[in-house]
């Protein structure tokens, strides 16, 4: 396989080098940090690739499994930077500039502790962030509408849990540790109790499935609560909107294989818990009413397994940890007296939507124009 590795790695190195030539010479400044991130990643991967053919130890038969694993990781990493990072760079659009200006205003309003991600409207599936590139992808027309924009605040929470060696984000990472300890402590006790009771073997598998799910659930809960704490009720409304349009059973818990996101019922429960503590009781009541209507429509009910998976004490600890974590980073916590322009616009959008759903579009068009006007406060 030495000949294959030599040929394949040289191909990949050529591909990596070519990527660096795909930066338009007139690329807007908003994308320059993305270029730096992508080129740094290409350089890192290229170094790893050269190791595969230059290091004599790599030709030993005993090291071929390692060589293959390292090649596959390099391929995966290069795929990502090509299909996501450089694609966003080469296809940078003026719509993206509006979104990047908005992101900059958001990060200043909430005192976000890191540099904000570059935003591209190249998403093929809703909002998603790539922390390794600090790139946030949103759908093509998202900059023209307001009701889902609160989800930007969830996405920018992901990098807070990934960045290393930055004391500014330590409180949020400590919150994550606290949530994991609480969840695993609870579930380990449930597992011991299950074994003592000699209950059905399936329940042990289910409990282990929940344990593994918390690796993802802990992150998603914290990102939801970062969004809630920094943008307020608009985040919970946006989540209801997403759950109605794209969600499944709001109280479904996995039995066999871990899931990436907690059920929408649990997500909404923690959002409403935190909004109550933030001083939004009237809004919480209104969101709760709409949420109950939705749950009734889809026939969703919290069954005993759901209640066992998400006891109120555990969700309460998630809320407390998140509040401590966000406050500990020095971020601006939304309150009824918050008046920043982006915050106000996103919350007002939901007020207007419920006040006059049929006429909301006209209001939104004016609000978007005002938000993105050059004379805006950003």
């Amino acid at each position: 396989m030495n000949d294959y590795f030599t040929g394949a790695v040289l191909q990949l190195l050529a591909r990596a080098g070519h990527l660096n030539t795909r930066v338009p010479r007139d690329l807007a400044r908003e994308f320059h940090t993305l270029v730096a991130a992508c080129q740094a990643e290409v350089s890192r991967v290229s170094g790893n690739l050269r190791f595969l053919i230059d290091e004599p130890a790599m030709r030993l038969p005993a090291n071929q499994p390692e060589r293959l694993r390292m090649l596959r990781r390099a391929v995966a990493d290069l795929d990502l930077v090509e299909t996501v990072g450089f694609a966003a760079i080469e296809r940078a659009h003026r719509e993206d500039l509006r979104l990047n200006t908005l992101m900059d205003r958001i990060r200043l309003e909430i005192a976000y502790p890191l540099l904000p991600p570059v935003v591209t409207s190249l998403s093929r599936a809703y909002f998603g962030i790539f922390p390794s590139l600090n790139l946030l992808c949103v759908p093509l027309t998202e900059g023209r509408f307001l009701l889902h924009l609160p989800d930007l605040y969830h996405e920018i929470a992901h990098p807070l849990l990934r960045v290393a060696n930055n004391p500014l984000v330590d409180p949020f990472r400590a919150a994550h540790d606290r949530v994991m300890r609480a969840a695993l402590g609870y579930l380990d006790e449930e597992l011991r109790a299950q074994e003592r009771r000699r209950g059905p073997a399936q329940m042990v598998h289910t409990l282990e499935c929940w344990v593994r799910s918390w690796v993802s659930w802990s992150i998603e809960f914290l990102c939801d609560l970062f969004g809630t704490l920094t943008v307020g009720p608009a985040f919970a409304w946006s989540h209801l909107h997403l759950a109605i349009k794209r969600g499944g059973d709001p109280f479904a818990v996995p039995s066999y294989a871990p899931t990436s996101h907690p059920p929408d019922g649990a997500r909404m429960a923690v959002m409403l818990n935190v909004l109550t503590r933030m001083g939004f009781p009237a809004e919480v009541a209104r969101i709760e009413e709409r949420w109950q209507s939705f749950a009734a429509l889809v026939g969703g009910q919290p069954e005993p397994e759901y209640r066992r998976c998400f006891p109120p004490t555990l969700l309460a600890e998630v809320c407390r940890a998140a509040q401590d974590g966000v406050a500990g980073m020095g971020c601006r916590i939304a309150s009824p007296s918050s008046r920043e322009e982006v915050h106000t616009t996103l919350n007002q959008a939901w007020e207007e939507f419920w006040r006059d759903p049929a006429g909301y579009g006209a209001w939104e068009e004016r609000a978007v124009a005002k938000l993105f006007s050059p004379g805006g406060s950003g």
Binding site: N48, A57, M58, L60, E66, R73, R212
Partner: protein, 120 residues
């Protein structure tokens, strides 16, 4: 929100340690690894975190939970392996255990990558 932020982060956490593990294995298999190697020291420390009941190392804590879904062999004993790696002579049983962990991490990475590609 899609799974990209979630799985990108998890993928990166696994990848960084999978890279470290494979670099150390390459040198162990070649007979050129010493206790002075920075990578070997880092790996030993990380394995001790992986084997600890409580650890401040977030990636070790995450990977320990992920490994609960794999065979009994990869769930335990990493603290001892980490300590053995700190000794000068590392025998075939330790290398075999490290290979087992490398394969387990590859399986987890493949799962996460599939989710990432599907959702991106």
């Amino acid at each position: 929100m899609t799974d990209t932020g979630l799985f990108s982060g998890i993928y990166q956490g696994i990848r960084d340690h999978a890279d470290l593990l494979d670099r150390v294995l390459v040198r162990l298999n070649a007979g050129t690894s010493t206790t002075q190697d920075e990578d070997r020291r880092r790996l030993a420390a990380w394995l001790c975190s992986l084997g600890a009941d409580q650890t401040a190392d977030a990636s070790a804590a995450m990977i320990r939970v992920l490994l609960r879904g794999q065979g009994a062999g990869v769930r335990q004993g990493w603290g001892e392996v980490g300590e053995l790696l700190r000794l000068e002579l590392v025998g075939p049983p330790v290398i075999d255990r490290l290979e087992e962990l490398a394969r387990a991490l590859e399986r987890e990475q493949a799962t996460v990558l599939a989710r990432l590609r599907g959702g991106a």
